[in-house]
Each structure stands twice: as C-alpha cells, then as structure tokens.
C-alpha cells in the first residue's frame, strides 16, 4: 500500500497577510452577529412581561446589530484600503479579470471540477476563478448593498440632519419605493449573504480535503501549502 503512495512533498506560498486575516475573522463574526440580531429584529423573540422599565431586550438586540454593523463598515473600509496597500492577492476579489479569456476558460475548468467531470482541479496560490467571481458578486457587492441600505435604515432613526440620513436615507428610500421596501431588500440581502456563507464554508472544507492545497489553515497562518505535485505556476 505505502509503495503506491507518492512521496510527501510540500511547498508553501505566503498569501494572506496578517491584517487581511484579522479582517476576515472580524468580518465573519460581524456577519454572524448581524444575521442573528437582524433576523430577530424582523421576527422578535417572544414578548417579555412586566413593566417597560424593567427590560431593554429589544433595545440591546438592535444596539448589537448597530455595533456589529459599524464594525463591518469600518472593516470593509479598511479592506478597500488594503486593496491598494496589500499584496496582489488582496486585489483579487475586488478586481476579477473578467476581460481575460483565460479567466473564463479556467473558470469553466473549475465548474467541471465541481461537476466531477475532471479528475484534478487547477492549483492557485490565491482564489480559483470561480471563487473569485462568487466572492466578487455575492460578497463584495452584496456587502456594499447591505452597508448602503443598512445606513439608510439607521438614518431613519438618527433623524433628518444626521449624516446617515443626508447621505443615505434621503436617496435610498425613494429609490427603492418606501421605508418598508428598504427593510425588505435589506432582509433579502441577509439571506443572500447567508447563502454565500454556506457555499463559502462548504467549498473551503471540500477544497481543503480534495484539491491538495490548504484553504482553512491558510486563513489562520497566511501560508498556502500544496501537497503532491508542487505549487502552481503563479506561486513564484
């Protein structure tokens, strides 16, 4: 049995720099908090009894939502700064090279890999083209959408004259119809992000096991290691 196994070899590339890794996990926990509290804001938990002065449950739920929202916004602002300040991998999900024929060809190869029609995926030190596109569309744009609609909803409570109201509520609410519509779109956006999270985690686990490159540990250590026949051509 051991005779048939290829000798174990590992190569490693430094992909995710420390600030980016920190952002990833802060962002992940912010999204988790936002989705949990956001769901409860739409469908509140069973009513508490007694006097209003004895409890601030819903107030705390909303407060947590707002705090997590600002954490996400500040994190996202930093992430955009890091597009310019970070290494080339930091740019990937913000600028997918959709104008390149090779990108789409390799994306198709990745689709075939997920359809189990090819036996080996191509190796990338960063994201594969399919992941790049999914993150660009579902993560980057929907996060922007959630930030814009979220600030528009926050501006309603902050009131006229607040910067959230002037910069966001004033045009987002008429654009989407009325306040209730903004709530509905913001709510649907949450489910898009939840769907993205499911796909993201599943793909990360699967690739970690099946594509002979580290995925999950890379987001902790920053290093991507390749098992088997070496690192991809773009690694050097």
């Amino acid at each position: 049995m051991s005779a048939t196994q290829t000798p174990h070899s590992e190569e490693a590339v430094y992909v995710y720099e420390a600030p980016l890794r920190l952002w990833h996990w802060v962002n992940a926990f912010a999204i988790l908090t936002l989705a949990g509290t956001g769901y409860l804001i739409g469908s509140p938990p069973p009513a508490v009894g007694g006097e209003a002065s004895s409890s601030f449950l819903f107030g705390w739920i909303r407060y947590l939502h707002f705090v997590a929202g600002y954490v996400l916004i500040v994190g996202f602002a930093f992430r955009i700064y890091w597009v310019f300040a970070g290494n080339s991998h930091a740019r990937q999900i913000f600028l997918p090279p959709v104008w390149k024929g090779r990108f789409w060809k390799e994306l198709w190869h990745e689709v075939l890999w997920y359809a189990m029609l090819v036996s080996e995926p191509m190796k990338y030190s960063g994201h594969n083209p399919l992941a790049t596109l999914a993150m660009h569309l579902l993560f980057v744009w929907f996060t922007i959408f959630m930030i814009v609609t979220g600030l528009a909803l926050y501006g309603e409570g902050a009131g006229m004259g607040s910067w959230q109201n002037d910069l966001f509520s004033s045009w987002v609410i008429p654009l989407l119809g009325q306040s209730q519509d903004v709530h509905t779109w913001h709510h649907l956006g949450m489910w898009v992000i939840i769907c993205f999270v499911i796909i993201h985690i599943y793909a990360a686990v699967r690739e970690d096991i099946m594509s002979k490159q580290s995925i999950i540990s890379s987001m902790f250590s920053g290093w991507r290691t390749f098992r088997g026949n070496g690192a991809p051509p773009d690694a050097h």
Binding site: F56, L57, Y202
Partner: protein
C-alpha cells in the same frame, strides 16, 4: 382686487384683539416662535385672500371629511376667513354648470395667483373615462385647472402616491398628480395620508397663505414639519418596543397592557407622519393608542405591501407570495441541501477513485 384676510375677518365681526390672538395661535400651531405672530398679522392685513380651487378625482372624500374636523385652526376659520375656497364641489353651495363655470372664471381671472388643491387622482386608461366631472374626463379638468395655478397641493395618499385605486393591478391606471403626463410644470406639495391629519392640512394651507411660499419640503415633496419623523420615533408605546414587550395576539395579556404592536404588523417604524404627535380628532387619539397597528397609510403603495397584520412585507414574484424570510430560508435550505448532496457524491467518488487506484 379681492379683500385682505384682515378685512374679511373684520367684516365678520372679529375684533382686532381676537385677530391678534388668532395670529399667535397660528404661529404656535406651526411651531414658529413668538416673533412670527406680528409677521402673520402683517401678512393677513396686507395680502389679498388667495383663491383655492379644490378638485376631486378618484377618491373617497376622506380628505375633505378630515379637513372639516380641523380644530387648530378650526376649519370654518380657514374656509370662511383665511382662504377663498372658490370651488369645492362637495361642500360648495353651487352645483352643475354654475359650479363648473367658477373653475373657468378663477383660471382666467387669477392667472398664476390661485392654489390648486387636488383630492384624489385621475385614471389614465380609456382616455380617462373612469372619472368624469361635469361631462369631461377628470384628467382634462386637472390639466386645465393646473395651467394657470401658482402651485398644486396633492391632498392625501391618492393624489400623492395613488392609494387604493392605484393598487395592483390598477385596472384604470390611476396616476398620482405628479406623474400625470402633460401636467403643466408647477410646484407640487404632497400631503399624504389616508386621510391626512386635519391639523396638518389646515396648517399647510395657513403656512402657504401666510408666507406666500411652501413650507420646507423633503426630497419627496412632503412638508418636513409634519413628515420628517416616523410614527415610531414619537410613539408613546416605544418603551415597550425597546423592552421587547410585544402584543402577540389581539386578545392576549400584552394587548391589555398596551404593549408594542410591532409583531402584529405595526408599520409605525416605516411610516412618516405626525399621528403620534398631533394625533386625531383634536388630539384625542390615534390608531396605535386605540390598540390597532399603524397600517402605514401615508406611505407610497401601502396597499401592496401584503398583510396589514404581518411585520414582513409580502414579496410578489414567480406567481407565488412569500415574505423575505420564506424566500431566504428556502434558498438557504436548497443551497445547504445541494452542498450536502455534493459532499456525499464527492465522498463516494473519492472512495471509488481510491478503490480503482489500489
């Protein structure tokens, strides 16, 4: 030249003392400082009464019903002393051709110097035949009356947004005033609500007549003084909202204790209006105070947002109705199941491949 407000009031036996009191009260009800009372007095002494044409399209007359119940100022003061309501077919004495002649008279005589108040809206389908006024489609009367108007007031949700007659599928193509094609380009102020609050209506008219301009409007054309905050922001049940104390059903303990109506569909958090501050019927009450959730009647398209008693809006599409949670949870479940199935197939394939290799 028409008489000034002051002349009319004096002619009706109102003393100067009462007149000045009225000016102070009006300033207070508009939220203006004491310095504005003499300004109002000066305006009323020197300005001629502005004629108002009040047209009715597709509507239920709830705006008029609300208007005549105004307490501060009293509707009779507004109608008899402040404005010259030359045409309002539901409350005027004249009828038929006599009444219709007044519209023409005002449009021709007071070019650019009368206010056009519109209650209801025109249907555009079948050349406007679904609403006939004096033998002609209402849309024609509206365009004609607007041609020389100084400004237009859109009374109520009908004129402002479309309201029930414009709800899906809107068979007559009822269209809010600002969206009527070919309408002369005039400044439009929206006073939405089904109906708008009486005091809001009279205050808007008083403001326009006194200062000869619109009050400050928001981006959607509503006066900021009454529509800049949500019902929710000033709701007296707000502490129960923050505490997480909700009415779960209309006959439960929470309902008896006056808890927040959020979970039984209250649209207060998404509705811009002054109900929770000005209230109704002379400040007596408003829907939430009476134990019913706000239905959001002053918001655009409130009839098409699904059940009044559900917090989440019904989303239409693909021939099914569902709220955001149902759609999202279904999508997440499908993707989750697909991921699980994909994982299972991946495992099977990997075992098969390994079996083949060894």
């Amino acid at each position: 030249m028409t008489e000034t407000f002051y002349e009319v009031m004096r002619r009706q036996g109102i003393t100067r003392r009462s007149f000045l009191k009225f000016c102070s009260l009006t300033a207070a009800s508009l939220g203006l400082g004491p310095a504005f009372a003499p300004k109002i007095a000066y305006a009323m002494e020197s300005k001629p009464r502005i004629p108002v044409l009040w047209l009715h399209g597709l509507e239920c007359t709830c705006c008029s019903e609300s208007f005549i119940r105004s307490a501060h100022p009293l509707a009779k003061d507004v109608v008899l002393s402040m404005l010259s309501l030359d045409y309002d077919d539901t409350i005027m004495a004249a009828a038929g051709h006599q009444a219709e002649a007044i519209v023409e008279e005002v449009v021709e005589q007071y070019k650019g110097n009368y206010i056009l108040a519109v209650e209801g809206n025109p249907p555009l389908n079948e050349d406007g035949m679904y609403c006939i006024i004096g033998g002609k489609p209402f849309v024609d009367q509206l365009k004609y009356a607007a041609s020389n108007a100084k400004a237009i007031i859109s009374w109520g949700s009908c004129a402002s947004w479309g309201c029930v007659q414009a709800a899906r599928p809107n068979p007559t193509r009822a269209t809010p005033v600002h969206k009527v094609p070919g309408l002369p380009n005039k400044p439009i102020i929206k006073v939405p609500g089904c109906p708008p609050i009486a005091e809001v209506m009279t205050a808007v008219i008083t403001y326009i007549l006194t200062f000869d301009k619109f009050p400050e409007l928001d981006r959607q054309g509503r006066p900021k003084m009454f529509y800049s905050q949500r019902i929710h922001d000033k709701c007296y049940r707000r502490p129960h909202f923050d505490a997480g104390q909700f009415v779960e059903a209309f006959d439960d303990e929470g309902a008896r204790r006056g808890y927040c109506l959020y979970k039984v569909g209250c649209k207060g958090p998404t509705t811009y209006n002054a109900c929770s501050t000005v209230r109704w019927n002379g400040g007596l009450s408003f829907p939430i105070q009476a134990g019913h959730p706000c239905i959001g009647c002053s918001e655009d398209g409130f009839w098409d947002k699904g059940d009044f008693y559900n917090r989440l809006t019904t989303v239409q599409g693909f021939g099914v109705e569902a709220d955001a949670d149902k759609i999202g949870a279904t999508a997440a479940a499908v993707i989750g199941a697909a991921a699980a199935a994909h994982a299972a197939v991946s495992v099977v394939k990997r075992i098969r491949d390994k079996g083949g290799n060894s």
